[in-house]
């Protein structure tokens, strides 16, 4: 069944916790929390989603203009506690009863009391000359020492600071300090025509151009009241899977590289390059930019079934090379296990969650095209499970691409049909890292007033720290790669 229902409810600060507890108890997941500055007051929207049937429930909380606070939901949901810290830094909304109010987005050079997402906060004031350092939790004990890594790393890695507390080689605690690439992406959308937003969405996290721009398009289409054609949905699903293929083979190769098995890495890069060139033929861009429009989708050509089978065979060669190597398997197996209960409690999504046995997949719960989709999962939750998860998702994606190509009747979708415009909309897409959520609001002239973006990495970064407990320091790069989270998508 295609087509989601979305209903909105107003809640009072007193009733929020109970309502959220009920929604979570019904099995819905907190997909997004967005604060809004309406000029006279602040407003917070909590979005809960559930699948089969595809339902979205929004709770709207209007805040006291003189005293913007929300009751903290940290006791109910770990993800909510992180959303609240984000809101506190960007909007100055104080969560009451939050147990861990350390800065998240805010870095020490931000002036006190300056909230970049508030109206009128266009320019950052001069940073203060005296700053304090981030209050990392210090682990004490005999032989405990700290290893600070980053924010600048060797190689092509985005910036992030990792603070390890270590005994010998064993990691006791790892804290990731992110938001070094905070660019104010959400604000860049403000005041733009929706069509102009697509180019911004494609650049939120460069490797997830389709997932982000599609989530954005879906949200805008709901807000404008556009019903896209089945042809467009079919092509969109094809593009999402093509994006997944490139990045999954990249991860499979990179995991081999991190155990110094360079031959398998090199062969995986050959497959990746073939896919990138195929993507260029499809859309004119190696990272699949430019195919999506509001209400429409257009590709230049479609991949042939034979090409996809050829790529699948080359990929299988890489996989068998890796899994038949006893040292490679030894390095992967049992390394950095993320228990299913931890993955669930932290709100983990995407291949990382499925590798720990959680079934959630937006392709099943929020489908783009008709038809049943069964996500694959792994029980173990270690690096090998995350590797195998990607391998199996790659195989499934090859089949999906072939069936989308068979279903494709043309390369350019017919125009959308109109339905009720709602002024706001939500888009949910299962990108290769997990579910990407966008929520947009339009003004009367149809311009964007607010775009809230949630990348799957936002949910998954805390899980990396949990999985690392009792892992040894030289296994960190491998573990990090097995999660492969986006810094840009997280930092926005």
């Amino acid at each position: 069944m295609i087509g989601a229902t979305r209903r909105s409810e107003e809640v009072s600060p007193e009733g929020l916790r109970r309502r959220v507890a009920d929604l979570l108890a019904e099995g819905r997941r907190l997909a997004l929390v967005a604060a809004h500055d309406d000029g006279d007051a602040l407003r917070v929207v909590y979005l809960f989603t559930s699948g089969a049937p595809d339902e979205r429930v929004e709770l709207t909380l209007r805040l006291d203009p003189g005293h913007p606070t929300v009751p903290s939901l940290s006791g109910l949901s770990f993800s909510a506690s992180r959303f609240e810290r984000e809101m506190r830094d960007s909007y100055g909304v104080e969560p009451e009863g939050h147990p861990f109010l350390r800065p998240l987005v805010r870095h020490q050079h931000w002036p006190e009391g300056w909230y970049p997402m508030r109206r009128g906060a266009d320019r950052m004031p001069a940073p203060p000359t005296e700053t304090t350092s981030y209050p990392f939790v210090e682990v004490r004990g005999t032989g405990v020492y700290e290893i600070p890594v980053g924010p600048v790393h060797a190689g092509l890695i985005e910036p992030g600071h990792f603070r390890f507390s270590v005994v010998g080689e064993t990691i006791l605690k790892m804290t990731a300090r992110l938001w070094y690439v905070h660019r104010g992406v959400e604000r860049m959308f403000h005041g733009e025509e929706p069509a102009a937003g697509i180019a911004i969405a494609e650049r939120i996290s460069g490797d997830s151009a389709v997932a982000h721009s599609l989530a954005f398009c879906l949200a805008v289409e709901e807000a404008q009241g556009l019903d896209v054609s089945p042809e467009a949905r079919n092509l969109r699903s094809l593009l999402v899977e093509m994006e997944r293929l490139v990045h999954h083979v990249d991860d499979v190769g990179a995991l081999c590289n991190d155990v110094s098995f360079a031959v398998a890495h090199a062969r995986a890069m050959v497959v990746r390059e073939k896919l990138l060139r195929l993507n260029e033929a499809l859309t004119g861009h190696r990272l699949l930019r430019g195919a999506l429009g509001v209400g429409s989708t257009r590709v230049r050509t479609l991949p042939s079934e034979a090409t996809m089978r050829e790529i699948a065979d080359a990929f299988e060669d890489v996989v068998s090379l890796a899994v038949s190597h006893s040292v490679v398997v030894d390095r992967f197996e049992g390394t950095a296990t993320l228990a299913r209960s931890d993955a669930a409690a932290l709100g983990t999504v995407g291949p990382v969650a499925r590798a720990s046995g959680l079934e959630f997949d937006a392709r099943r719960d929020h489908p783009l095209v008709a038809g049943h989709f069964t996500p694959v999962t792994q029980p173990a939750g270690d690096v090998l499970a995350r590797f195998t998860q990607r391998v199996e998702e790659f195989r499934a994606s090859i089949d999906l691409v072939i069936s989308r190509v068979r279903d494709a009747t043309r390369t350019e979708s017919p125009p959308p049909s109109p339905r009720d415009a709602r002024g706001s909309g939500v888009g949910l897409v299962e990108g290769w890292r997990g579910v990407v959520a966008h929520r947009v609001e339009l003004d009367r002239d149809g311009r964007l007033t607010r775009v809230r973006v949630v990348d799957p990495s936002f949910f998954n970064w805390p899980a990396l720290a949990v999985a690392l407990t009792d892992t040894i320091v030289p296994d960190f790069p491998l573990t990090n790669k097995s999660f492969n989270l986006s810094y840009a998508g997280n930092d926005l």
């Binding site: 080689e169 991190d258 098995f261 360079a262 320091v473």
Partner: protein, 317 residues
């Protein structure tokens, strides 16, 4: 040629050969790996070009560096150079060849390792300390295997003097394929891979700081000092490969004072070490890096092989 001139020029030729040849062997291994991965790879002379470039660059020290930081690269190169000079690589009669006891050579190399570790520790960064700690752990595990393997080699010739071991091997070619020799060779290959920081023990081409062993110790060096440390490391590769080659296949080494024999010796040393480098590079291509905590198992395996070599040597004598 008189004895002194011969010994002196042989020593000089050895130092020059290993000084230039070591970096070339490193470049050759990188080339083989690149080809196996389907890449063209950098030219074999790239390590020499890198050294020349680094040598002209500014050296920088951290604010709280002690003189140890500057001293360590000199000690690394000096100790390796002495080991190269006295070992029978081109000639069985280099200057001070009589003091080329295999224990002396091993401990000269160890002096270099200790200097590298102290240099890594000096500035007090987390990476340097981590690298030094790992390098010393691996060194401590590799050393017993090395010493026992050496005992196995010295058994038939009743001497731990390297020139004498080689001379007696030349006189008894049948020793080479003896079980004791082959077991000792297997143990030495493991030790050499560990001591030169190759896969599966360490990955010399990684950029992942947290997985580094040897590279982590050199992170604080720049310019000409980095050139010295890198050069010392390449000479160590050259020396260890030459020793392995000559201990097992000494033929070609110059035993008497003629120009021709020295030319043949240099050529055969180059050929033999290139074969060793090829073998090590193929091992690297075929293997992945072991989990750090699995390394003791590998090195213990090397130790067991060397003990077996000694036992077999005593039994079959």
């Amino acid at each position: 040629m008189t004895g002194w001139v011969y010994a002196g020029s042989a020593t000089l030729i050895q130092v020059v050969t290993v000084g230039l040849g070591g970096p070339l062997l490193v470049g050759l291994m990188a080339k083989v790996k690149a080809r196996a991965e389907g890449r063209v790879g950098a030219p074999v002379v790239q390590p020499l070009r890198d050294l020349r470039k680094l040598a002209t660059k500014e050296r920088l020290h951290a604010r709280h560096a002690s003189p140890v930081l500057a001293l360590a690269p000199v000690v690394i190169v000096a100790s390796t150079t002495v080991a190269v000079a006295i070992s029978p690589l081109v000639s069985t009669r280099p200057l001070l060849g009589s003091s080329a006891d295999i224990l002396a050579v091993v401990y000269l190399l160890l002096t270099g390792s200790a200097a590298a570790a102290l240099g890594g520790l000096d500035v007090g960064t987390a990476f340097g300390g981590m690298g030094a700690s790992r390098a010393m752990t691996i060194g401590a595990l590799a050393e017993p295997a090395l010493l026992v393997a050496v005992i196995a080699l010295s058994l038939p010739s009743h001497s731990s003097n390297l020139p004498r071991i080689m001379a007696s091997t030349l006189a008894h070619p049948d020793w080479v394929l003896g079980p004791s020799r082959l077991l000792a060779l297997a143990a030495l290959v493991i030790v050499v891979i560990a001591e030169t920081g190759r896969i599966p023990v360490d990955n010399p081409s990684t950029h992942l700081e947290l997985t580094m062993v040897h590279e982590a110790m050199t992170l604080e060096y720049a310019g000409s000092e980095l050139a010295l440390v890198t050069w010392g490391e390449s000479m160590r590769v050259g020396l260890l490969f030459s020793l392995v080659a000559n201990l097992f296949v000494p033929w070609g080494i110059s035993t008497h004072a003629t120009v021709l024999s020295v030319v043949v010796a240099v050529a055969s040393l180059a050929a033999k070490t290139m074969l060793v480098a090829l073998g090590v590079a193929l091992i690297e291509v075929r293997s992945a890096k072991l989990r750090l905590f699995r390394l003791p198992e590998l090195l213990a395996g090397g130790f067991v092989l060397s003990v077996l070599a000694v036992v077999t040597g005593l039994v079959t004598r």
